[in-house]
Symmetry: C2
Subunit: 239 residues, 2 copies
DNA sequence: TAGTGGTCTAGACCACAAA
DNA sequence: TTGTGGTCTAGACCACTAG
């Protein structure tokens, strides 16, 4: 059936490209009915499974929506207009070809305040691990990392040499896989944070809070403070 | 082959669940070799296409990596530890069940400064559309939207009633589909922005810049300023 | 009833990597 | 050479929606 042309581009990719081009070029507008699988089978001379894969990929990409018994439609595109990824700082710095260094300020065992205990679903006064460090990129402080860790989940956390392995990396290797929720906001640093970062107490900071859990238990809660003048989150979206 | 059990759960989903559970529970760690397609075919008594679909879904989700001729491995999970989505403000507000209102400050035609012209790939002095408005959630100013639009791509932009339709919505309907790049940072507002938002000039703001292009042309450049005390980006990640 | 998408099969050929 | 994943087929049965 397809003895010719067997080199670079899979057939499902060709179908995908054709449909995506039609959407990007505006030939089909959001809400429009698109060709059925059967039509595409005839048009491209491929099997239905191949057409189906192309369409499922487009669904995954958010470009089309499909309704059983009805048809395939161009998606309303508001939803996908913006997705960005926050990377791990260590990777980010190395990828820029820069030097990463961590300055450790605190590595200690504490007793949970009522607020902290609540975040972890533990009793007030329960033991927690606490680390506080500053991450430097080529010698410039760009992040203050204030982290609490659940000893019940990661008992060996404090044994790590955090000048060599970032807490993020250690936790990702020590805990199978996790769910996380975050917030990103703009606030002023605390006095201590300003001092550690070497910035004014009036400098706006980008603050990321992240709470990570695994198998129903909270693993870690972290506050990442970045001087606004030294750190920008970047992202791209493309169909 | 599969005459029994034909009701709710697709077979590829069962294979997927089995593998995902193994990763989440830590039975397989990042970097570990996972069962081959052939093994899974035997284990689940399904066809290879079915197993293949399950595995491709897991690749898409970022949980595994596959190497032709070698095998399937649990992914290094650093990459996926954080993906968040920035939604359209109008949708966001309505979804919270709140009132959205736009206060229009400027709707005008301007001549591009050299900097602006460069962003659009146009000649200095070329015409641009400029809108400036404040978005209110239940009467509280939460975003100042300062936008430039390319008249060559969206000639009817200024005819829109922006109290009824947000620029974002209009542009998404008027321009087929677009690529975008953004930055998110924490800075102080300009004097004008502070005044429009009714905040102090010293209040940190979350600033999103977005540049959108379609078919190789820059469509719009926007600066969205949010008072830090009133706006937080939230996100979740789960495997 | 006719047309749609959702799923599945039992093969097949290929490119690739490791032994 | 063996085993891996990447792709593809020509059918099939099903659930769903619309006329």
């Amino acid at each position: 059936m397809n003895s010719t042309r067997r080199l670079p581009t899979p057939q499902y990719q060709q179908v995908k490209n054709h449909l995506r081009d039609g959407i990007v070029s505006g030939r089909w507008s959001p809400g429009d009915l698109m060709p059925s699988e059967a039509e595409l089978v005839l048009q491209f001379g491929v099997s239905r499974m191949t057409v189906n894969r192309a369409l499922r990929d487009l669904v995954e990409a958010g470009l089309v929506e499909r309704v059983q018994g009805v048809g395939t439609f161009v998606a309303q595109l508001h939803r996908i207009a913006s997705t960005l990824t926050v990377r791990d700082l260590h990777e980010e710095i190395l990828e820029r070809g820069h030097q990463h260094e961590a300055r450790i300020e605190l590595v200690q065992r504490i007793k949970a305040t009522p607020e902290q205990a609540q975040q972890f679903g533990l009793a007030s006064g329960a033991p927690l691990f606490h680390t506080l460090m500053v991450h430097l990129e080529n010698g410039v402080a760009i992040q203050c990392e204030d982290r609490l860790v659940n000893p019940a989940v990661v008992p060996d956390y404090l044994k790590t040499d955090f000048t060599q392995i970032t807490p993020t990396h250690y936790l990702l290797s020590a805990v199978p896989l996790s769910m996380a929720s975050y917030t990103i906001e703009s606030t002023l640093p605390t006095g201590q944070e300003a001092q550690l970062l070497g910035i004014s107490k009036r400098e706006p900071c980008l603050v990321v809070r992240r709470r990570t859990s695994s198998r129903g238990q909270t693993v870690t809660v972290v506050r990442l403070v970045h001087p606004g003048s030294r750190y920008v989150i970047e992202g791209t979206f493309q169909p």
